[in-house]
Symmetry: C2
Amino acid sequence: MTIQTRTKTRRQKVEAREQAILDSARNVFFEKGYEGARMSEIAAGAKIAEGTIYIYYKNKAALMRAISSEFWQALTANAWAEIEAIDHPYDALLALARFHIKSLMDQADMIDLTHSLRVVSADVGTTTEELKTYVRVFDTLYSRGVDRGDLKPHPALWVVRDVFFGTLDYSARTLRLHDDQNVEPVVTNLIDGIWAQYGNAPDTRSRTGSPDSSALIARLERAITRVEQLGE
Amino acid sequence: MTIQTRTKTRRQKVEAREQAILDSARNVFFEKGYEGARMSEIAAGAKIAEGTIYIYYKNKAALMRAISSEFWQALTANAWAEIEAIDHPYDALLALARFHIKSLMDQADMIDLTHSLRVVSADVGTTTEELKTYVRVFDTLYSRGVDRGDLKPHPALWVVRDVFFGTLDYSARTLRLHDDQNVEPVVTNLIDGIWAQYGNAPDTRSRTGSPDSSALIARLERAITRVEQLGE
DNA sequence: TAATAAAATGAGTATCGCTCATAATTGACA
DNA sequence: TGTCAATTATGAGCGATACTCATTTTATTA
């Protein structure tokens, strides 16, 4: 017990310092950019000596990588939270697109800094891994749509994924450039486009007299009944 | 006459030196990346003293910017050349997409270096200007399609433009990551998608007597799905 | 050929990321 | 509580590098 409490105290102190360094570094990186950021200033911000940083992080690039890593993990968590309550894939994709582009725009500094890692350190492996994890939110959503029969299975999902993220990335930059906060046209346009290309519109099935049309009508009937019961 | 010849000689010498610096810098930047590139090495490659570089270029970033600028101008010229003989907008867009993604993949080093400018220097204005010029190739192509009646006019062309370049950019990265040289699926998929959404395809119009019913049913289906979720 | 302007040079400077010998702090144990 | 070993912190100093500037070299004109 005593042992645990004591070691925990030490660990807590260390972790607090680590977080202080991270926080200070984030501030300085935001303000000055990667190149402009001085290790001395980061140390001052965390109220420690410059040398202490190197006990916690191997070098400037590693520090930057840690910040980037933290950011993407939080983004992934938030993305899941954003879509978990949404049932229909169309709406979920819409929500994810909205969330993604808004994040890109709000946290543009962070995004640019992450990109800078590619330039600064050859070892972008860590960040790549985190990007993959983030991107999995989309993949899951699409797969769910396929399972439900709302979306056509795609032989190479990454093709659609790149349309999704690539478009949003570029659009975010354009919107920012024009000081425009209205993401809806972009988001709607994108998802409608994906839906037009890969969506299994129910009419496609019913047109050929497929058995699914009756099921759809039944669903419609039940739904409408519920709407009617809602009153006015 | 004599005056002109003589000054021209001097100017030629100066311009030759300038080009030598640029060539050497390009080599070193490619090989070592921006951070890894040493001004001393660039000078050695151009067979001049280190201080001479600074007569021609204000600093390392300016040197990099000049290289980037040269690259994008050449890319723009090549893009125009690639599409000038193609008449139908669909084929021209296809060709541009193919050209763009291939350039991205072949000259990945150059692209990454250009991106690095964003990190290194706040003044990315020059590069942005050149990017705009490049991007105009697409805009012209789309407008031509609208004029011919093959494409629907879009209230905000940049939305489509960002789909185009964003998708190709991301796809190029993915393909490179998988050591895949086959760009056709991406290119075809992209242009078909744009055509499906914005093309005035004659077959769409002639397919059925009630062109709007399928879209209407799709909309109904999505709306009902949303209603169904309200109850649960 | 001499005078002047333009261009080149490279030793020196300022700056910054990082190291390491030394100091301070912490926790276990008697 | 005091002692000792381990952990953590410190900051002067090192090496490296982008950039400067006093001096030299080269080109041009009369």
